[in-house]
């Protein structure tokens, strides 16, 4: 991630300084016009205040060292930071500001505490729905007490990434995936546990179910022995985001794409931690991909690509996406498709993928909660409109089910149904 320096670190006059200058100039002209020294006496402090403020402040950009960290719970995002200033700068004259990151809503005014040589700040937001977003560096500005001149502090601080997704995503990595290459590289990950192929014997422990006890071996050994199983947890998965515009309109499409990005980032992280290989495809106007890979570097690549994902134009043919996928990824690859299913072309994409040999599972963020948020109709009409929308949505999901297992994602903070679907043996056979 590139480091960002705030622009224009030199001295700047504020609009208030220009206002005072204009007033001083007007008084000067007025004084000459009415042949009176009184306006000149008023003009004098107004004209001199700006330069005096500049002479009284630091003579260069304040040098500041900033430390920041993101924290928070499921929906809350908290940015806490501390700025240490040099001895020539009074922390009382420093102002901190920060643009609200995309998808986050402020829940409290920023908290700023100043000590002798430092400034501590805290920003609190809430994620309306699952999100992955960049939290930019705060802008720290020295401004004189009268607010006439200011200097932007210089410090290097790369933006932080805030990720909030449904809690079930952490369990998704335990799903068994199919391997699509015979020699996949150093990505083997085994887990010895209660499921999988037989691995060995161990001393039975209290709480072991009786079906795990190896009775023959126990009889021979004269003590209780339990079976252990080996689960090969690696595999390959493609996360494909249908980022084409739809009939829902750009505003709704953007929010649904942001949801898909967040879910894809969470799912990718979860699988990568199990040493599976993950690839990502973003199908907007064309397909841009992150090829299959594993490890922390791949996690960074996937995250970076997802953060850059933008909505494409509507009306892009679905077959183009499926053909492009087949150029980059081998057939048979388990594919999780994120699609709004708003138009027939979304269903077509599922069909084309299936025909080219990609076992697909569709996770479809529903637009209905967003439509309900708008609430432009009277209550009764609104309820009726939502019922009709739900019926139409159910029909579309049913149509998609004929091509691939589909999860209608309406409760954005839960992916329980999706995880359950992935863990079902019938679905696993898809992979």
């Amino acid at each position: 991630m590139s480091e960002a320096l705030p622009p224009a670190a030199g001295l700047r006059w504020t609009p208030l300084a220009f206002l005072l200058l204009a007033a001083g100039g007007a008084l000067l002209v007025g004084g000459v016009a009415v042949r009176s020294p009184v306006p000149l006496f008023l003009a004098l402090p107004l004209l001199l205040a700006g330069p005096a403020a500049a002479f009284g402040g630091p003579r260069g950009p304040p040098a500041i060292r900033v430390e920041r960290a993101l924290s928070g719970s499921l929906m809350a995002v908290v940015l806490e930071g501390r700025a240490e200033v040099d001895e020539r700068t009074d922390p009382l004259d420093l102002e901190v500001s920060l643009s609200d990151p995309e998808g986050l809503t402020p829940t409290a005014p920023p908290s700023i505490r100043r000590t002798d040589r430092s400034l501590e700040f805290e920003f609190r937001w809430q994620a309306r729905e699952p999100t992955i977003t960049l939290v930019p560096s705060p802008r720290i500005v020295w401004r004189d007490a009268a607010g006439l001149v200011e200097r932007t502090a210089e410090f290097a601080a790369p933006p932080l990434v805030a990720e909030r997704h449904p809690p079930e995503i952490v369990r998704i990595g335990a799903v068994r995936l199919r391997r699509t290459l015979a020699v996949p590289g150093e990505t083997r990950s085994h887990r010895v546990g209660a499921t999988g192929e037989f691995y060995g014997l161990r001393e039975a422990a209290p709480g072991d179910p009786s079906r795990h006890i190896n009775w023959r071996a126990s009889g021979r050994a004269g003590r209780l022995l339990a079976n252990e199983y080996l689960l090969d947890r690696t595999g390959d998965v493609l996360l494909l985001l249908d980022a084409r515009g739809s009939s829902l309109g750009p505003a709704v499409d953007e929010r649904l794409l942001a949801l898909s990005r967040a879910a894809a980032a969470g799912i990718a992280t979860s699988f990568l931690r199990e040493k599976a290989r993950v690839g990502v495809g973003l199908f907007g106007e064309f397909l841009s991909v992150v090829p299959l890979g594993a490890g922390r570097a791949q996690e960074m690549r996937v995250r970076s690509r997802l953060l850059k994902a933008r909505l494409g134009p509507p009306g892009v043919p679905s077959e183009r996406g499926a053909v492009a996928v087949s150029r980059y990824f081998p057939p048979g690859l388990t594919t999780i498709l994120f699609s709004t299913l708003a138009d027939d072309s979304s269903v077509d994409l599922v069909r084309h993928l299936r025909r080219r040999g990609y076992p697909t599972i569709v996770l479809s963020p529903s637009s209905i909660p967003l439509e309900a948020e708008r609430g432009t109709l009277p209550a009764d009409d609104e309820a009726l409109a939502l019922r009709i929308l739900r019926l139409a949505r159910r029909t579309q999901v049913d149509r998609t089910w004929q091509e691939a297992p589909t999860v209608d994602w309406e409760d954005y903070w839960s992916l329980e149904r999706f995880v359950e679907l992935l863990r079902r043996p019938a679905t696993r056979r898809l992979g």
């Binding site: 007007a26 008023l42 004098l44 005096a52 403020a53 003579r59 060292r65 007490a145």
Partner: protein, 172 residues
């Protein structure tokens, strides 16, 4: 942008009262009828104080405008004389003090703005002392005009080249 914390309502009262008194006196001694002169000055300054007490940042940002307008009207309608000259200078300084005592900024603004207040106060003192001590009636205009011309030339240079204030290398 995250909204800043609401301003404490009772900070800045002293500087606000000072500005109100200075601008009221300035208007009172003007050539306009007293109810109009003093009323206009007090009304506009009161509007400035009320704007600064608002929670919305945009309203607070335009608070100096009515206060400046009050001073401009009073200055242009002021009679000749040493007292109006002194009042004009004091009103200008009171305005700067009010700017520095912003309740949305950390407390102690007046102390931190000492350079912003002392330098104009010094220039004012020189100008007013010259007007008081020099014999000719034309002298005050000459002295104040000379000072202003010098200040304007310096301002033009400084505003055109803000880098002129950057002299030290900041280190930590």
């Amino acid at each position: 942008m995250s909204a800043p914390a609401p301003a404490p309502r009772f900070r800045g009262i002293v500087s606000g009262a000072l500005l109100l008194v200075a601008s009221g006196l300035f208007g009172y001694f003007g050539t306009l009828p007293v109810p109009l002169g003093a009323g206009l000055a007090l009304g506009l300054t009161g509007a400035a104080l009320a704007l600064r007490a608002q929670a919305r940042a945009r309203l607070r940002a335009i608070a100096p405008v009515p206060a400046l307008a009050a001073l401009l009207v009073a200055a242009l309608a002021s009679p000749l004389g040493l007292l109006p000259e002194l009042l004009a200078g004091m009103a200008g300084l009171a305005f700067l003090a009010w700017l520095a005592d912003d309740p949305t900024r950390p407390a102690g603004g007046l102390g931190r703005a000492r350079m912003t207040l002392l330098l104009p106060a010094l220039a004012l003192g020189i100008a007013w002392a010259s007007a008081l001590l020099l014999p000719s009636r034309a002298a005050p205009i000459g002295v104040a005009g000379g000072l202003l011309a010098g200040a304007l030339v310096a301002l033009a240079i400084l505003i055109a080249r803000p880098g002129a204030f950057d002299r030290e290398e900041a280190t930590i």
